[in-house]
């Protein structure tokens, strides 16, 4: 057991901190979930890429800097500490890229990954459908074989920032006879393809951060398939086990919130009775940081996480809501203002819903980690 950083890691942190201090926009950018805000965020993404910070843990040839997982953690800590902008490229980096690394052909990797890192292609996910939310295996959008490729039909929903993106990755039912998780194929679709229609709509906070995407006889060539035909489920699930995927929701994100919460508490006149909840917030975030160090150690030593990632998701998503509830409580009657904490609260409320609702995560934890019978 060793809880210290090496000299190289400290140097990496110093470099990241210096670059961020020099480059993070002040005042903060407008929300990246609005059209104008998205444009500003795109500029930021390109500046990140130019500085070599767009995807630090990727190989250099794809636009990364070959950083270790530890360095990635350090970078994230510094990123949130610096209050740098939200990453509007994150669906490409965290959801699509892990599958491309694992299942893409060399041609696909060379074609897709550098353009993700450079924020030239902007990817949105096309998983959920009106009838397939928690029950993702209920997907009915379909892919039909045709000369030289496939024709796509159907509808995707709750596509984050779909109205501002250039490409969509998603699952389509390629074998109409197969049920549930079988017979799905993972497709890569340019949103300017003929037959694609995108309609943006408001999230809870009113920003146009969602879209529904309609596919009407959309042609895509064979190389738009990622992984094997009818194996889309495993391809999509690569994000779960991968160290580049969503499992490691950065602890720095929450530590930064806790730091702001502590400042808010110290500045709050009638705060004493609320101290305990603030302390608990710090504790929850610190426990999560240590839990993540444990997970990264496991990954580095060759034991990728499995169903444990359900615990990870349950913890950070519910902690995030509690942290913001505590802040709103401290704000008293000012809590209702459409300000930073209320925005953060609304954003946090999505956590227990997306990427597998927390009900699903508890099922997974109970069945796969505790071995309890299915209902």
């Amino acid at each position: 057991m060793d809880l210290t950083w090496s000299e190289e890691e400290d140097a990496f942190r110093g470099e990241a901190r210096a670059w961020l201090e020099a480059n993070v926009p002040d005042p903060p950018l407008p929300s990246g979930d609005t059209r104008e805000g998205f444009a500003a965020h795109l500029e930021w993404e390109r500046r990140l890429f130019a500085g070599g910070w767009a995807a630090v843990s990727w190989p250099q040839r794809y636009g990364g800097r070959d950083a270790t997982l530890w360095e990635w953690l350090i970078f994230e800590e510094e990123y949130y500490r610096a209050r740098a902008p939200q990453r509007v490229t994150q669906n490409g980096i965290f959801l699509l890229a892990p599958s491309v690394f694992e299942f893409g052909t060399p041609e696909q990797q060379d074609r897709i990954l550098p353009r993700i890192a450079a924020a030239e292609d902007l990817w949105c996910q096309g998983w959920s459908e009106p009838g397939a939310g928690s029950d993702l295996a209920g997907i009915t959008s379909r892919a039909t074989r045709c000369e030289g490729g496939w024709r796509l039909d159907g509808q995707k929903l709750w596509t984050t920032r779909g109205a501002f993106c250039t490409h969509l990755f998603g699952l389509f039912r390629s074998d109409p006879a197969a049920e549930r998780h079988r017979g799905l194929t993972y497709f890569l679709v340019p949103l300017d393809a003929e037959g694609v229609r995108v309609r943006g709509f408001g999230r809870l906070d009113g920003d146009e951060g969602f879209a529904e995407v309609f596919f009407d006889d959309v042609f895509v060539p064979d190389d738009a398939v990622l992984g094997d035909v009818d194996q889309g489920w495993s391809v999509a699930m690569a994000t779960t086990g991968s160290e580049r995927g969503l499992t490691l929701r950065s602890p720095g994100r929450f530590s930064a919130v806790v730091e702001r919460l502590c400042r808010l508490y110290r500045a709050s006149p009638a705060g004493a009775a609320r101290r305990e909840r603030v302390v608990q917030g710090w504790m929850d975030a610190e426990a999560y940081r240590l839990f993540t160090l444990q997970t990264v150690t496991s990954i580095v030593e060759g034991r990728p996480p499995g169903a444990e990632s359900s615990l990870n998701k349950l913890w950070w998503s519910e902690m995030d809501v509690r942290l913001h509830e505590t802040a709103l409580d401290l704000l008293g009657d000012a809590a209702e203002l459409d300000g930073e904490w209320m925005r953060g609260f609304e954003f946090a409320l999505a956590g227990p819903i997306y990427a597998g609702t927390n009900e699903i995560q508890r099922n997974i934890a109970a069945e796969r980690l505790l071995g309890l019978p299915r209902s």
């Binding site: 408001g202 009775a273 809501v321």
Partner: protein, 325 residues
């Protein structure tokens, strides 16, 4: 001893409920939301005035119906259930009775009761419904100002129907005399009633949704996790209701326990409604996490009212003081 809503309260609240079901559908609330609390709800306000609802706490002689605060609480619960996009909590339970008990010094009460004139209320210097008001009641011991005696600074509430502004008086105003129970107690009891209704409205919508929404080949309302969470919301709401009626009754009877009763009602109703909001959003999933589905209107109203007229924690502190803790 009889602890139940009396017939007048049941009748007037049933009438308001059936009126709102027809005249205040979610589409209207959304339209009012989009318009920043302006315009689309104007007819609604006028009709509520004509029905005698706005003035229900004014004496029969002064354009009112002379009803009890218990009846008003029952009405506000229905207004909450429908998320009526108007500052009814403040108009019905604060502006009208405060003006009435002060003898209506500027002679506007009848017009207020008919929505020909609006009075915004700012116990802590912040008023909902500010931009349409001709008069302002400001401060915990409220002073009445004309529109041209105050400066308004618009605030963006997460609930855009709130039409919120800080109110800074610049004139002398008129100190209201003989106003009976304080602003804090009236506001707490009335907001508690509205929150109770908001909670019930969210629970109703959510129950309907989870019966209908299918995942994994069955309605999600058949999953025990969903059922139990909604049962817990029901439990909190059903146990918050008696304190709401008791607080209103304590206002009607000028009970010595009023401060404690009002704080109990507001704290219980705030917590019950915010917990129900969480449960409702989670059960709606991504469907509820958009501004395309009406649920968000209820959520935001709930968050606002929970923060107004004293937060749950503020009221717990007040109870602690009353209990000498």
């Amino acid at each position: 001893m009889r602890f139940a809503l009396d017939d007048d309260a049941l009748e007037v609240s049933a009438a308001v409920a059936s009126f709102l079901t027809k005249e205040c559908p979610p589409e209207l609330v959304q339209a009012a939301f989009n318009a920043g609390g302006q315009g689309p709800a104007d007819d609604l306000a006028r009709s509520l005035g004509e029905m005698g609802v706005l003035g229900m706490l004014a004496p029969a002689g002064a354009g009112g119906a002379g009803l009890s605060m218990v009846a008003a609480a029952a009405v506000l619960a229905e207004a909450g259930r429908a998320a009526a996009p108007l500052p009814l909590t403040e108009t019905i339970a604060l502006a009208v009775p405060l003006l009435a008990s002060a003898g209506d010094p500027t002679g506007i009460l009848e017009r207020v009761a008919l929505d020909d004139e609006r009075v915004a209320v700012a116990p802590c210097g912040v008023a909902p419904g500010a931009s349409r008001a001709g008069w302002f009641l400001v401060g915990p011991d409220p002073v009445l100002y004309r529109r041209d005696e105050v400066t308004l600074e618009r605030l963006d509430s997460v609930d855009r129907t709130r039409d919120l502004a800080t109110v800074t008086p610049a004139g002398p105003g008129i100190v209201l005399e003989g106003r009976g129970p304080g602003m804090v107690e009236r506001g707490a009891a009335a907001a508690a009633a509205t929150l109770l209704g908001l909670g019930r409205g969210m629970l109703d919508q959510t129950v309907a949704y989870v019966k209908d929404r299918q995942q994994f080949g069955r309605p999600i309302g058949s999953f025990q996790a969903v059922k139990h969470r909604l049962a817990d919301a029901l439990l909190l709401l059903e146990l918050a209701a008696p304190p709401v009626w008791a607080a209103a009754h304590a206002l009607d009877t000028a009970s010595p326990d009023l401060p404690r009763a009002a704080s109990l009602a507001k704290a219980m109703a705030s917590d019950a409604a915010t917990a129900t909001a969480r449960a409702a959003l989670q059960a709606h999933g991504a469907m509820g996490y958009t501004d395309q589905h009406p649920l968000h209107l209820w959520l935001k109203r709930t968050w606002c009212l929970a923060a107004s007229h004293g937060t749950a924690r503020w009221h717990r502190d007040r109870i602690a003081a009353a209990l000498q803790l």
